[in-house]
């Protein structure tokens, strides 16, 4: 029993230490919205995720305007779930929170949880931003505006020059764009690719599906907010092309962002990726050895958009005016140009697409393509699309439908029917 005394002493010591810590009080840092610091300075709490590239400008603004900012970085998904939790619980939301485009559709179900930025004077800014992007943050009736646009994710076609050459296809970006006027052209080129090189044309059938469904005038919802998936010809078209790539064996069958997808990219298993602007980073980092083998051009039948975010002001904020002023400045065309120059994020203000710094930008990795200019053109082609509160859910159901066929678990017709049944069931509750 002698040996055991050490243990007990340890326990006792540790316990008393703990009480000490407790007594000293791990005091909570009060960081909820709407605080003022001791010297009367306004303090803004701001939630962002890493890589948004606007922290420096926020700090600069705070310094110049004599306010205090507390930037709290969390992981992308965590910012959204934390915001949801705080809003549901009714406390703890910040003065400003970033929200991604998919998240904003969910938030639109509860516009009362946020300041209507039109009330704060956002109308005057409207013309600075891309129309389709602006509409994403508007409630369907157009009366409420939840957020001001940050970056966008217009899509273009990233292709492997070397594989195109082997397949006997044109390699110059202008010529490739001319050859690929329609998705039928794209499929035809894909067949040639398969025949000549044995390589797949596209990484995943879901890629082509997602792009085509976004190229129509309407996607899942009509203007009145009704779900129209079943009857929208554009959705059917997107699905059919995705099925074609599977039937004709033009897809490499990967799931995007999974580990293997990166391996396939590095190994040159597929000749094209339908890539939003930010995907350049993925390609460059997943397959650094393919530098110079890629080029970028416009997509067939118009562009699409994938991703991009907004800055919102939750209702809990007591400094909405100050928060709005900060947002207005940080996301102004001039500052978005700065963000583009330093971080490469695609601006949502078309006015600067003509700027010299913008048009002259070329990417060495992508065969010296003027990527900014191409993405700028793509951005202007994007059509405004009405999204709804269940958009994420529908997107997942449709994506699963494509994957089931890809994995050989269902015929195209059966998988489509399964998806429609599921849709009806889930949206009814």
């Amino acid at each position: 029993m002698k040996r055991s005394i050490g243990w007990q002493k340890f326990l006792l010591l540790a316990l008393s230490l703990l009480l000490l810590i407790g007594a000293a009080g791990c005091k909570a840092k009060d960081t909820t919205a709407g605080e003022e610091t001791k010297d009367g300075k306004t303090k803004l709490t701001i939630w962002l995720w890493p890589g948004m590239g606007i922290e420096d400008q926020i700090k600069q603004y705070a310094k110049e305007n004599n306010i205090e900012v507390d930037i709290q970085l969390s992981e992308f998904a965590d910012v959204h779930s934390n915001l949801t939790t705080s809003l549901a619980a009714g406390s703890g939301a910040p003065d400003i929170s970033a929200v991604e485009v998919k998240g904003i559709d969910k938030m639109k179900a509860a516009p009362d949880a946020f300041y209507n930025l039109y009330d704060l004077g956002a109308d005057e800014l409207k013309d600075n931003y891309l129309d389709w992007k602006w509409k994403q943050a508007e409630t369907p009736d157009g009366k409420n505006l939840l957020g001001i646009p940050t970056d966008i994710g217009p899509q273009a076609l990233a292709y492997r020059v070397d594989l195109f050459e082997q397949a006997g296809l044109p390699t110059d970006r202008e010529e490739v764009a001319k050859m690929l006027q329609t998705w039928d052209d794209y499929i035809k080129a894909g067949e040639q690719m398969k025949e000549k090189t044995g390589k797949a044309m596209i990484d995943s059938p879901n890629g082509i599906y997602a792009v085509i469904e976004g190229q129509g005038n309407e996607k899942y919802y009509d203007e009145d907010g009704n779900v129209i998936v079943k009857d929208n010809p554009q959705i059917k078209k997107a699905y059919d092309y995705a099925m074609q790539t599977i039937e004709k064996d033009l897809t490499a069958g990967f799931t995007q962002f999974e580990g293997e997808w990166g391996s396939g990219m590095a190994n040159g298993d597929f000749a094209t990726v339908l890539a939003p602007a930010w995907m350049q980073l993925n390609i460059m980092n997943n397959a650094p050895d393919t530098k110079g083998k890629w080029d970028i051009t416009l997509l067939p039948e118009g562009a699409g958009n994938w991703g991009g975010s907004f800055l919102t002001i939750p209702k809990e904020s007591k400094n909405a005016e100050e928060a709005y002023k900060l947002i207005k400045w940080v996301l102004s065309p001039e500052q978005q140009l700065e963000t583009f120059k330093s971080k490469g994020l695609m601006p949502s203000t078309p006015g600067i697409y003509e700027d010299e710094a913008f048009t002259s930008y070329t990417s060495e990795f992508f065969n010296n393509a003027p990527t900014a200019k191409i993405y700028g053109e793509a951005a202007k082609q994007v059509k405004p699309i009405v999204e709804g509160p269940d958009s994420i859910q529908i997107e997942e159901i449709m994506g699963d439908a494509v994957e089931r066929v890809r994995d050989g678990k269902a015929t195209p017709d059966k998988s489509w029917k399964t998806a429609m049944d599921q849709l009806e069931r889930e949206l009814s509750r």
Binding site: L87, A109, G253, S263, G408
Partner: protein, 316 residues
């Protein structure tokens, strides 16, 4: 001094003679018993009770988290029982639980016995190694299992091709997904359970074995007649915990199958489903109903478990 030599379960009142100067042992036991268990119940009443009742309350509402609550009675529960996704999730949960838990506990016991062998050199090292998977970060684990079970560049399919077998789409099928998730669970928790068994094995008096050896009992006999009965409380402990853990399995399927549990919902478990309903689809009322049904399933299951494990004991 109170003399309570005869203290036996349930018989104290007979055995304790009346004494004036001392409180009765049973009263003392009552006081200190409740005092000693109070920390748990105090904390639970502060942090645990409210969420449980809140969840029960919310399960009768339609509540899209950010909007207004709307009372719908038992509609959520009615929908639940006709919801094929729920039944699928239930089936997945059981399937994954069976293929991960049963072999896992069995192998853990064997591993514990091996680690307890007197002749073993480097005991400390091996015990450390057995526990290591449990402290390895899930991020790393996810990336690695991705690399093992990939269809095109997976290590496992590569191994199959060496034997002339066709590559298998692990992620795209029920069977493959369940096997992959179960192996992830086994990898993380087998050593953990082995260490728990080991702690129990260490407490078995060595003279029991010595006596048995002298009596001519074989190793196998000793294992079933001494080891198993002696560590029975610990076996029950791990069985119950694995059941609870298995019914609530969440992180592994989420990491392996991604959002929604895959195109066939092959990786969607009950907790995963309730998480998706609550935080992806924002239907908090429905998610609360799932939570309560899940709660009842676990209780039911633990009772069945208890019944089976007690039968094992009475068999010998």
């Amino acid at each position: 001094m109170s003399t309570n030599v005869g203290v036996e379960k349930g018989k104290q009142s007979l055995a304790v003679p009346k004494q004036k100067r001392f409180t009765k042992q049973s009263t003392k036991d009552n006081i200190s018993g409740y005092l000693y268990i109070s920390p748990f119940f105090i904390l639970f009443s502060i942090f645990g009770v409210f969420p449980i009742f809140y969840t029960a309350y919310i399960s009768f509402f339609k509540w899209p988290i950010l909007g207004a609550k709307e009372f719908v009675g038992i509609q959520n529960y009615q929908m639940l029982f006709t919801d094929p996704t729920f039944w699928k999730a239930l089936g997945n949960t059981f399937s994954i639980w069976v293929i991960s838990t049963i072999p896992q506990l069995f192998l853990a016991l064997i591993l514990a016995v091996i680690l307890n062998q007197a002749f073993l050199k480097g005991k400390q090292f091996f015990r450390l190694a057995a526990f290591l998977p449990n402290i390895t970060s899930l991020v790393a684990v996810a990336i690695i299992f991705d690399a093992i079970f990939g269809e095109k560049y997976g290590i496992l399919n590569y191994a199959l091709s060496v034997f002339g077998l066709d590559p298998f789409n692990w992620k795209g099928s029920y069977f493959g997904t369940h096997i992959a998730i179960a192996s992830m669970v086994m990898w993380r928790w087998m050593g953990y359970n082995a260490i728990i068994y080991l702690a129990a094995l260490q407490s078995i008096p060595k003279d029991l074995y010595e006596a048995a050896t002298i009596d001519g009992a074989s190793k196998t006999q000793q294992f079933f007649k001494i080891t198993i009965p002696m560590i029975r409380p610990m076996i029950i402990f791990t069985v119950i915990l694995s059941t609870i853990g298995g019914m609530q399995i969440f992180t592994e399927p989420l990491m392996f199958s991604g959002g929604g549990g895959g195109p066939l919902k092959q990786g969607l478990t009950l907790t995963f489903y309730l998480y998706e309903e609550a935080f992806v689809r924002n239907s908090f009322g429905y998610a609360s109903a799932i939570a309560w049904v899940l709660f009842l399933i676990i209780i039911l299951f633990s009772i069945v478990n208890q019944f089976i494990t007690s039968r094992i004991k009475s068999a010998d």
